[in-house]
Symmetry: C2
Subunit: 342 residues, 2 copies
């Protein structure tokens, strides 16, 4: 594609991520010729504002992709599995923000700060990685290039917005109920479609997404598998514990990384200051460190609490925070779309 | 001390932990002859209920310990530093629930399920470890004995009650304010006496206690130092990331442990089922795992999400939850007192 205006479709335009994608297309002045807002039949007929124009949401059907150049999918894995092939058939390049195609060997899995060159290999589909993976690989890219690493141990502190707008509403309503001593009936978390639902307000739930294999959840295995694929390095060993906490927006991660070479902490800080997409916030004495509330609405990945493992001179603890709907979803998607048009 | 009734003093009787200690003395039918409730001058004159009797709180002064056999301290490190020596001089055995004497080589640091034999070495003072350490060592004791380990990597998800009753009130008031879109002014967290205070509602704060050394907080270093002392094994390497989350009660920990011997996961489960003070809740397929809300008011340490590191066959991830005011403070303190009288 040349540097002209393009027809863009956003699938899942009324969802939490879809809305952020539309705001990112505006904010970054993406060269949109025509914007098609697609969603489920239920949401068809609603309106969405784009650059002060009101756009009527249409139902996402196979034929809706005629004439679309770039389709940005954020409507869940089953919608992507069903509609992405039709969009590709109609000639659109799809940037898919679901788990549907991420591990498909024919589909590049792209975080622009890490492996933008992979975009060239696409055959109509580019996958956007999972939110928790994206912020980890952005934070680690400079360390991977400069020091190398084979081993990551990560524990996440994930926001409820990652489970969708209904889950956020439930967290807020439930928090009110708990504060007022009123009854409530959890329906959304940890996973809407599973049997059991738990209180999220003033609680921590050590399950995100469905069980996968060997006692790990799918969310945990996404971090294992996607990290290898994004770095193109099957030797990277990741083990993850993914936990939902009562935060609306902004995932945090406690990452332990064993580097392949000796390091000076000040050099690591300098690498991170220079890294694309990273903001270093790291001075414990001054109480400077990233927190979810400070990351909201920002595009960067924030890194702090850098410190050497006192027992393993090659290993480093770090604390990584990012807005899971922005860099973790919408802004990474729009960055990929920008690479496609440039 | 023989198995008779004893005179007990609770210092910090009106605080969050002090109140729980008094409830534990009742619940476990501790052989109390006389209960003295001590607190700061400000709280003197308040009343506390013990076994349906009303006890007037007295000011904690050096002379208040005359005739006291066992003094249970939970009024902060500076109060302990000042008054514990006086209590010892008056012949009391002190169980101190602050950081004041924990690393003193003459003071046993005791978790009854792990090192109850150390109590015999006391010279008037026994320290109760920090809450986050206690639940970790209880969860790991059986694995230490059976498989051995040298290396722990832990990330915590800590409740606000660990910062005191005022911090809990602030979390609840602040949550209401956020939900209602009203202003608020953080005063308590992460550390009341430090300069900067942050929103705790719907946020995660990667600082607990003051900065210590090498970029670690004191809370993190407590986990490093106390674990070695409790196991009596300086070769145990701990690296910790301690994070406060908007939970009222119940600390959670994501623990990565490298065992010294090969293991079968089912054997590890059996070790934990048989372990003192541990309840195993571990079946992801059935969505069974410990959570802070389920641990509230319980004495046990709950362990779940057991799974092997897919890249390191000797290593194990586990998720450990306990009521930080109960096993993390009050019930461990009363267990130590029980060992003293038995």
């Amino acid at each position: 594609m040349s540097n002209k205006t393009v027809n863009v479709a956003v699938v899942g335009a009324t969802g939490a991520v879809g809305e952020k994608i539309i705001r990112e297309l505006e904010a970054k002045d993406f060269p949109v010729k025509n914007l098609k807002c697609l969603a489920s039949k239920r949401s068809a007929g609603k309106t969405v504002t784009f650059k002060n124009e009101s756009i009527v949401v249409e139902e996402a059907t196979p034929d809706a992709f005629r004439g679309v150049d770039i389709a940005l999918f954020s409507a869940g894995g089953s919608v992507s599995k069903q509609l992405v092939p039709h969009a590709v058939e109609h000639g659109a390049v799809c940037v898919d923000n679901t788990n549907a195609f991420r591990m498909d060997p024919n589909v590049p899995l792209v975080v622009p700060e890490v492996n933008s060159e992979k975009i060239r290999e696409h055959q109509g589909i580019i996958s956007n990685p999972n939110c928790s993976t994206i912020q980890m690989v952005v934070a680690l890219k400079a360390l991977y290039d400069y020091y190398g690493f084979k081993r990551l141990i990560v524990s996440t502190y994930q926001a409820v917005s990652g489970a969708g707008a209904n889950a956020v509403k439930e967290l807020l309503d439930q928090s009110r109920a708990v504060l007022n001593g009123e009854p409530f009936d959890p329906q959304q978390l940890p996973v809407g479609k599973l049997n059991k639902h738990f209180q999220m307000a003033f609680n921590a739930i050590p399950q995100i997404d469905v069980p996968d294999e060997n006692g790990y959840t799918l969310e945990e295995m996404k971090m294992v598998r996607e990290t290898k694929k994004i770095f193109g390095d099957e030797s990277i060993q990741v083990t993850a514990t993914c936990v939902r906490i009562p935060v609306v927006s902004g995932h945090a991660e406690s990452i332990y990384v064993e580097l392949e070479r000796d390091f000076q902490l000040e050099d690591v800080r300098q690498q991170l200051r220079d890294a694309d997409g990273v903001t270093l916030v790291d001075d414990l004495e001054q109480q400077l460190y990233p927190m979810p509330i400070g990351a909201e609405g920002k595009r960067d990945v924030f890194v702090g609490r850098l410190r050497r493992d006192l027992a393993n001179a090659r290993a480093l603890n770090m604390w990584v925070v990012s807005d899971n709907l922005m860099k973790g979803a919408a802004s990474n998607t729009v960055q990929i779309a920008e690479l496609l048009v440039n």
